[in-house]
Symmetry: C2
Subunit: 455 residues, 2 copies
């Protein structure tokens, strides 16, 4: 079941200090006050970005890996002792701290909407509090990038999209997690070799301009590369795109030992260059040579090229997908919604919380999904429940094991069940309907009144 | 000289596979073709984002650390052997590969403009090629974030700005490197504890809404926290901001053991809430209690609050700085500009390259800097040269050691020398002038002609 790469397990060690300082100052206060009762925290997105009709949940495997490996090292404790905020007895409690709680989550690759829990933690208050920073960081970046990639896949209409973005992403971790998230979202392959090793994501790659430039002669560069790598893709725009295509044609005609499967265009007017390249190749009897395009592509440009029937067989994308340039962040929140058996919320303007542990039911028929209902965790409803127990008492359950190929298939199936308007790049009108159950609404009102009285 | 945190050195180990697949396919080709001559690659930004009047160069320390530690492990080579592209003799060459070249770079914290080299590598072609992905990734994220932070610092007009963004940034590495980059750019402190340990960045943090919510009574939460942490900052908006401020006033009046230094407002209309909070505190004789603000702040909102003289003494920022939301990417390029002693460039439309190794001279007087000149590396000019040798034959030179506190002072000094219009949030008109020397222009023309002839 759990078949990803060689060293993905225990990838998130020695990260107990990857937390905001206030988590630790609060932890000390919780311990001093004896506040170690069970808390429920819920992670959800308050509002979808304008440019997103759904999110694709991603990052759960990292969260569970972190929780399984959460412990403070001697070096961590020595550093904390230097901060003049943490007495020895607190550091001893940290030394013994492990995550012992339960986690409920939607599987990676689940389409999700505003207010719906991505995951809920049920654990002693200090444990759940400490994990906030890591959980938000990882679910955010992986969900942002998977959601963006799903748009690329939709725009490309079945043509493969390849991830070339490692060099433009925000740091090493983002580039690795991105390749994994993109795979789940339906991207064909990545150029990031370490992501291939770590997560088993398929790799692809061709040549750079520097390879061509370093040769005195473009034809020599193409010939040498094609001999080493039969079936390779050749980058033709270093000097002049169409001259490069003609050179490829001449090479193939001249040498039966030259096996080139595609040309890649990386600059200029891709639509006209692709059309003219296709014409040159077809005229030369090379209709089997494919045309790939890259260079500043986003989903809007891909959709436009596809809509105009430009003869491009696949797309390489970097920056815009790699940083989710149009929506790099999420209005995400990790909120206490129950403590010691009583529902909690805050009353800050415009930032409502749904109290208690919850479930999301998705309703649909043979023709696809139609609407969601957020309920209390113990309500029964006829739709299918999205949140599953994935960790119990700090131990991962089978439902918490993510095989990235299964997650990819699952995501494709779930996305295919969405109302088709949600796959448009423009804002879906109407948006996907999400309602709150009567029982949850009544409970929210009851907790709100209790909070009002208490303050 | 080199005084940063406990484990920053050799932070970038086991990253030889953090590279695009095509770097490795090209490497094999270079070895097979005997192309191991000296290459010069230049890293530069083609165009500043519209919302940036300058970039603040950052990330050099990570690059040098990576180059010093670059080697393929047995596990790396075993993985590569499974890819069916790389024969045993090539893997043996990878096993022996070390970075043996020279690096020239501007110090971290240098303001920089389009076309100016951030760094140049001079090394055997395969070594310089392999490092492309890592170098671009790290210089991009750190420069993007430092440049964004410099705007926050300028907008706040001397009031401290604190980094609360770890939870919203793109992954673990970005959140750590960000805290360091922000420190160099003038941000006061970070909430990210691991960044404090690793890089020695000052830490700060207060309490979360969940702490208040977990208590049955807001006053009890404030009281307990203030007793544990004398001089603490109290978060007052969990239920009702001004009621929270009144509670703080009552607590201070009631107990001489209550030591609170500031209140933090995190939602609602910050301008009117800060004014009313100030009035309540001043009326109670608590003029020394400061007011901090957070909650969706970016540099535009900070500048507006400062311009309106809103009584806010410091700002906490998260998402917008943490992902550089208005400009999350850079049009950055790492381009071959010389191989085996001859200048190289590509002719792709709209993407010119300055050939050869270069220098940037900055000209100014007592009143500040006025203009830059990009020259050939061996030209002499009266301004001060920005690029320094930082690594020779794979060994870091003293100029390649970055002390982050010295870099912070250096950045502040360099930013203060810029024409004042560059510190506006709006586009500087005119932009900072950057010219190319006659000799470099002539060399570019000569190389261009040679390339035209060769093809």
């Amino acid at each position: 079941m759990h078949t990803h790469g060689t060293d993905a397990r225990a990838e998130h060690r020695e990260l107990a200090l990857f937390t905001d300082l206030y988590e630790l100052t609060m932890l000390r206060a919780y311990y001093e006050e004896g506040m170690t009762g069970t808390a429920v925290f819920s992670l959800f997105v308050r509002r979808l970005p304008e440019q997103r009709n759904f999110l694709l949940a991603c990052g759960l495997d990292s969260v569970l890996d972190y929780l399984e490996n959460l412990r403070f090292s001697e070096a961590d404790l020595e550093y904390l002792a230097t901060l003049d905020r943490f007495p020895a007895d607190f550091l001893e409690r940290l030394r013994a701290l492990r995550f012992t709680g339960n986690v409920y989550a939607v599987p990676e690759g689940t389409p999700l909407f505003a207010d719906e829990p991505i995951l809920e933690l049920e654990a002693p208050l200090p444990e759940a509090q400490l994990a906030e920073t890591f959980i938000m960081n990882q679910i955010t970046v992986q969900t942002v990038l998977a959601s963006k990639a799903a748009r690329m896949v939709a725009a490309a209409g079945g043509r493969p999209v390849v991830d070339f973005g490692a060099r433009r992403m925000h740091g090493l971790d983002a580039a690795l997690k991105a390749a994994r998230a993109f795979h789940i979202a339906g991207i064909a392959s990545t150029s990031n070799v370490l992501a291939g090793r770590r997560y088993g994501v398929p790799l692809s790659g061709t040549m750079a301009h520097s390879y061509v430039q370093a040769h005195d002669d473009e034809s020599a560069a193409f010939r040498n590369f094609a001999r080493l790598y039969p079936g390779t893709v050749v980058l033709v725009d270093t000097y002049d795109t169409l001259a490069g295509v003609r050179r490829v044609i001449d090479l193939i005609k001249a040498g039966p030992d030259i096996d080139i499967s595609a040309v890649r265009l990386d600059s200029g007017d891709l639509a006209s260059l692709a059309r003219e390249s296709r014409r040159l190749l077809d005229t030369a009897g090379l209709s089997h040579i494919r045309i790939l395009a890259s260079g500043g592509l986003d989903e809007q440009r891909i959709a436009a090229l596809v809509a105009e029937d430009v003869p491009i067989d696949g797309f390489g994308v970097g920056t815009s997908m790699g940083v989710s340039a149009d929506a790099p962040d999420l209005d995400i929140a990790y909120k206490l919604c129950e403590y010691a058996g009583s529902g909690r919320l805050k009353l800050s303007a415009g930032k409502p919380i749904l109290p208690g542990r919850k479930q999301v039911y998705r309703f649909g028929g043979d023709s696809g999904d139609e609407r969601d209902l957020i309920t209390l965790a113990d309500e029964q409803a006829p739709g299918r429940p999205l949140l599953q127990p994935v960790m119990r008492n700090g131990t991962r359950l089978p439902a918490g094991e993510t095989d990235i190929n299964e997650a990819r298939d699952y995501a494709a199936g779930q996305i295919a069940r969405l109302p088709p308007r949600l796959l448009d790049l423009a804002a879906a009108d109407p948006p996907y309907p999400v309602a709150i159950s009567d029982a949850l609404g009544a409970y929210q009102e009851q907790v709100r009144e209790a909070v009002h009285e208490r303050r």
